[in-house]
Symmetry: C2
Subunit: 245 residues, 2 copies
Amino acid sequence: MTAPSKRGANAGVALYQRIRSDIEGRIVSGEWPPGHRLPFEHELMDTYSCARMTVNKVLSGLAAAGLVERKRRAGSFVSRPKVHSAVLQIPDLKAEVESRGQRYGYALLQRQKRTATREDKARLDLDLRAPILALRCRHDAAKQPFALEDRILNLDAVPDAAQQDFSEVPPSTWLVDHVPWTEAEHRISAGNADEALAADLNIDVGTACLIIERRTWRNGQPITAVRLVHPGPLYDLTARFTPSG
Amino acid sequence: MTAPSKRGANAGVALYQRIRSDIEGRIVSGEWPPGHRLPFEHELMDTYSCARMTVNKVLSGLAAAGLVERKRRAGSFVSRPKVHSAVLQIPDLKAEVESRGQRYGYALLQRQKRTATREDKARLDLDLRAPILALRCRHDAAKQPFALEDRILNLDAVPDAAQQDFSEVPPSTWLVDHVPWTEAEHRISAGNADEALAADLNIDVGTACLIIERRTWRNGQPITAVRLVHPGPLYDLTARFTPSG
DNA sequence: AGATGCCATTTGTCTATACATATTACCTGG
DNA sequence: CCAGGTAATATGTATAGACAAATGGCATCT
């Protein structure tokens, strides 16, 4: 609300929000298809009897959300989304498990401080011989192995991690609370469990697993690379999405 | 540009963008950690010698991007991101294959117009007996099966689809161009190939596959449900993400 | 001490105005 | 007829001022 809701017809929402829903509605309903030129700012001004700053705020917001594209002198156009994009939420595993009403368990299987091998170098963009912390742990849901985590941490970027034994607190939880990041990359794939994995996850050899690999940087400096392997039948990622953002 | 660049020190970017990068920098660098209260609007006004509307635009933008939370009377605070989120891009398969420099192929395996079974009803939120189009097709990359698509289409929502034989144009491509949607849900999981799947995809029985299931609605009305099965070794999803949005 | 109401502060929204900038459409001279 | 300049137009950014709404704290009353 705000802005004296001039003549009571205002149902408690801000004017610019009403205008925005209005326009969004026409776009998603197909009334204004991709490529369609929407009214000029001064036309919307007249339509809604408001100042240009108000409609400008709306159109800028829609442009920021990717629903429209704006061109000087030409006008604003409904943009055509080329790809399906979905905002994938990858929460802390502990929170994930507990939100299903299951008991969460954690075990550190291996902790090793060493210098980067050629393999590590390929995995993150590390310098060869950079000091790293290699961790291997298991996450359980309702006493069943739920994920195997295999992580390397760049100690040049996160020296504090060397002081942490990760026997109680999972590295992912510690990192979220202590290390800001600027860039992340996820790769999601499927693979068959080999013998070692099958033993650790208590599943049959050959069972399909969902593999999530994440790499994180901070201003270009590599922080960590993690590989999470979930037993196929026990896990799936879900993403919901609306074009409005 | 814009706004008379008061005294030339302006490097060609708008004032509000300079302020925004400035603040974003302090946040991602950790100088202003999660929970930290950032300066009040009137303090930023003084700092940057500008009007309140300008800093308001910056802070509102940061709030929309999820970097800060704003509370009346209390101030604006750096928000603590609880989940890793990633924008997953799921492009048209044809574009995906060709962007890898491989030849794309498509084959329609099955096309059936019928009424919804109980199984279909569970898959989308269809009414029982609603008219649907069931499709099964294969996508190839460099002559190798690359994905098996199994789709149902709600003909009540998309009557035009009944006129389309999908022998040349993949349904996903046709849909993107013809049907706007307001909501989508993705589920990503892993599974072992059974005999039928192994035969269609030309892989061994038991090979791990990446399974992507997508359901799409338009203003609450179900449009389509699709299940894409990719041979594990041949495919992965990649998402890149920066907190700034 | 505890409940209650008022006030100051901060963000939220809106207006009216101004000038900058990019780009198209048009006009004019060669 | 074309090249080049010019005006018109729509967006981009910024300002100053105004009032609304939410809320934390303080003062007051019981």
